[in-house]
Symmetry: D2
Subunit: 340 residues, 4 copies
């Protein structure tokens, strides 16, 4: 019969990727796609590039109690409320793609996002970066942010081994425009973005992007880690992210050594690959891959890490389906084989 799956927030860029991936997933029996903004419209009217034949439902129309799995792609705050309702309705597995369950501490959450709407669930959430933190065990997965996915994959093996020796971490991040969401704004107007690149997330002369605490907290689970400086830039491309990460430490390993760590830590995981050559965004776009590389500036005593992902796939919907696969005991790439 297959799984009964619901998507909440199916009208955004991440939502529509979920529609595509789950629509072709061999274990999915039925798929309900809800969107508050598009309820009643045919999916392929809103996204003509999607083959799906169905209609967007109003979230209230979906019988949550009949769902095996739910994916929630709402904005922060709204997501947590929806997740609570779904868990109460007895949904077996909820994968939340918002930021609501990524920060394990309600006080830290408050500082960056405001009051947490469902703090009692924070302890249950599994941070869904399986190559670092393992397959999800419980009923709630906090799907990582796109930038943290790339950053933590590149940094985890380093922090594990070099721990307290790391003095400084700076992440220079470059992202395609789909990362800014489907809502039209002056900032995402074609003419604003095209033939340009712009740093963002700098407020009052200070870099302050919400993915910073997510990266720091997750790295601190793995070893001693310094504050992370995170500077994102908007690129004139639709999808994909590249991070060039600078690590300063007393003792700097060689690049081959770092590649060895990557290969060791990610052995057996099919979507993460370290190579000698630096990754380009085109090497990962439209796939669920993460590609990693490393270099060393010996004169300056710095380690350079390079990581690339597709922000909508490995950085969002692809990783979410991978998390569902792992949580339910399927191969991690089930239904994602063409995105390896």
């Amino acid at each position: 019969m297959g799984l009964s799956v619901g998507i909440y927030g199916g009208g955004g860029y991440v939502g529509v990727e979920l529609v595509r991936l789950l629509g072709g997933h061999p274990e999915v029996g039925s798929l309900a796609v809800a969107s508050r903004g598009h309820a009643g419209r045919r999916i392929r009217e809103v996204y003509p590039q999607v083959a799906a034949g169905g209609e967007y439902l109003d979230p209230a129309e979906v019988d949550a109690s009949g769902l095996d799995v739910a994916f929630v792609a709402y904005g922060h705050g709204e997501s947590a409320e929806a997740v609570r309702g779904l868990l109460e309705a007895g949904v077996r597995l909820v994968v939340d793609l918002s930021a609501d369950f990524r920060l394990p501490d309600a006080r830290v959450y408050r500082e960056w996002y405001g009051e947490h709407p469902a703090p009692e669930l924070l302890g249950e959430a599994h941070y869904g970066l399986p190559e670092v933190f393992g397959a999800p065990g419980g009923r709630l997965v906090a799907n990582p942010g796109c930038y943290p996915t790339a950053a933590i994959l590149a940094l985890a093996p380093v922090i594990r081994r070099m721990g307290g020796g790391v003095r400084s971490v700076t992440i220079n991040a470059l992202s395609g425009v789909s990362g800014a969401g489907a809502k039209p704004s002056p900032r995402t107007h074609f003419v604003s973005v095209n033939e340009s690149v712009s740093p963002y997330g700098v407020t009052g002369g200070e870099p302050r992007h919400r993915h910073t605490p997510e990266i720091e907290i997750m790295l601190q689970r793995l070893g001693e880690a310094p504050p992370v400086t995170f500077v994102p830039h908007l690129l004139p491309i639709s999808r994909g992210e590249l991070e060039t990460i600078v690590v300063e430490a007393g003792e700097i390993p060689g690049p081959e050594e770092v590649l060895g760590w990557y290969r060791e830590d990610y052995a057996g995981w099919c979507f993460v690959e370290a190579r000698e050559e630096v990754p380009h965004i085109s090497h990962v776009a439209n796939t669920n891959r993460a590609r990693l590389s490393a270099a060393v500036d010996r004169r300056a005593g710095k380690l350079l890490l390079f990581a690339a992902v597709d922000n909508l796939l490995k950085g969002a919907a692809g990783e979410a389906v991978q998390n569902m696969n792992l949580a339910l005991g399927y191969p991690e790439d089930l239904g994602l084989e063409h995105l390896r």
Copy 2:
């Protein structure tokens, strides 16, 4: 009567910008445009976007002894030989846009480019970043590299004031494809570049780009400066560069203080401007501007500097004409008013 001006290497992207700028310069009386590759072809046949009516000459056809000013836009090595000949022929001012006279020391040059073809002229060359090193005085100007132009403008006021206190400098640089030259290659094929971003200049696991020593040496003229880590990336845009520079030091000034330094040091220069808001490449593309900004990550003790230029204008041909203006006593923006 106006100046008699020659352009050598007028067939590349920088060369054709020189053609445009000098063709409209009010003090230029006659303009000879030479190109080894395109000799005999009409300029507007090779570059239909150029209004110029003339033909590319063979360099040997140009009577150098009749030139007041020559611009040389050859590759390194070849440029130095041409410059020597032009100076011997009595040209009053030679602006060299290659790397040949940027590094003042033949030994350093050898390490990065090979044997220097005209070491006896190295002592004569004025490094043509006038906002930092003043108006050119002699007969030979070494026009700065595009990346160094942005980097030194952003870093000079910092190094001057924070000198020995600066522990670490990392330059994350992003450039449009015209910076890679007009020669077709797999790397500059539209399909390779489009919808991607790629780090480059990493060889054998080490960042090694030739603009690194240029930046370091020029900064060391201004104060104590640590080794510079320089990581360039290729962007899917035609022109423009953005550098996000991370400076670590014991004592970090506030962003307003750094903006104050910029305003102080660049007062009276019309093409360099510091603003509170971060620069985008679109703010400077198709102009001779440099735009600067600063931010501070207090938690991590890092100063962030942002600099943007158009690599073909302020980073090459525009700066070259500005240097000519200053060397000959004209206003720095003569013929460049529409590029302010």
Copy 3:
């Protein structure tokens, strides 16, 4: 002292081009820039790529009675009202960049745009395509639409000579996104436009774009012309337009003959040029040029015309300034020399 000039609607893409061009125009003494949406904000805060130092005024703040020249870049309907007020206030020359005075007949206007707000002025308006209809004589210029500028320049010499013999005209038009205006919408979101091309202006299975009647009516002034089929497409570029026009007629001239007609009709006009080679958008972007070419499919009995302009310059702001120059007796390219 210079001219006192006002810009109404200075906050859109066309408006900001006017700010740039008029800000550097040698005969402009004072420039008031009004914008209903941006009043009170600094121009360079809204458009950081503009060097201008001033502030957007509220239209009501501008003393129209003191203006020599006014440019109106409002939407249709609103523009006509503003123009009436300006003329009543005694402004010497009003250049209207909306569609309000392009169609000479209020009944035709009603069919495409609604009731005309100032029909009494229709008779006064000079259609400002000077290379076809001569220099403006009166106090009101209707600046042509961007598509009609290219189309009429390409077709006028043909209609004049082949008149009744022309059986069919189809215009396949391609435009950059700035032609759709600065207002954010799903259609102008970067991700919608990028890596795509889309036909538009098709409603209910019928091509219906408002530039169609403008083109037809202006051609009919020059000779007998059939109904024009006009199919616009949105391109993933910021600026520039290309039209590929198919003309069917009993007798088809050779391409050289058509080029000869172009050269004859546009002799003495500096911004229009016919060449044997087909124009690319890059040949005209960021200039006030129109480039034309012609080819012939003898087997099929069709004449192909190619025309390219920059939609914001020759197709809007550049042409508007050219019209002001001509109306006031200046050289047509005054202040536009760098855009030839």
Copy 4:
């Protein structure tokens, strides 16, 4: 055991798509990928975006006699020779992606491409546009050109029904740069293509593109068809094609009628779909779809047809695999399910 499949010319853009598609095809048991230019290099070194682990072979290294199916993606002329050898070696099915077997008449071939190297095979070739000409029957498939795929799909139902009534057909075609091949040239340099659009295929004042006779001949198989005017344009996108086709006829049907013809003729075929809304390139990019639509300009008596495909998939490699599937009796979308 699965099919033994060979790819000849696996180093170009079409070749690498074949590698991807056949590498994931469930009936392919072994895959030999040959490339004269890249022999000995790992595939993923040349195309790091490809997951495939193997090496490019020299064509001579492949034991053709052991192949069930061969795909040939060479240039015209070279392809025919290779095909002859493969058929002689006993390969069960050869899918040729060059132009060599698309034109059924050696005299027509000579006019456009030169002397045909294997005219004796022309009669055997099945033109592989299955939705129009049915599933391939024999051992040689001539895979259609990318432009003809879109054009014939849009025009076939019209020519079948309106036959002799059609007076004129003009195809305005827009293509991404991958259609021009992977070989670097000034024309495919990023800076040449970016922010521009250029008509091409015009020689000596006449449109002459090799896909013209292919389209005409195939249409003539379906009914009476006039000469076709074909004007291609190069777009600043990587992949995808859009054709806007103008048909003039005495009697023009309504758009719904044409959509009805499309639905009737393409019923049961999964990759071709007609919709009321006009297709955008983004609706088909990275898929094996063709999307069709129609509009009518009643005033001018013209029918407008719109067709979009991905030039590398439905216009090349995807269609080739679809042809293999049909020739061997598999479902047409086997291994292509994610590209529907």
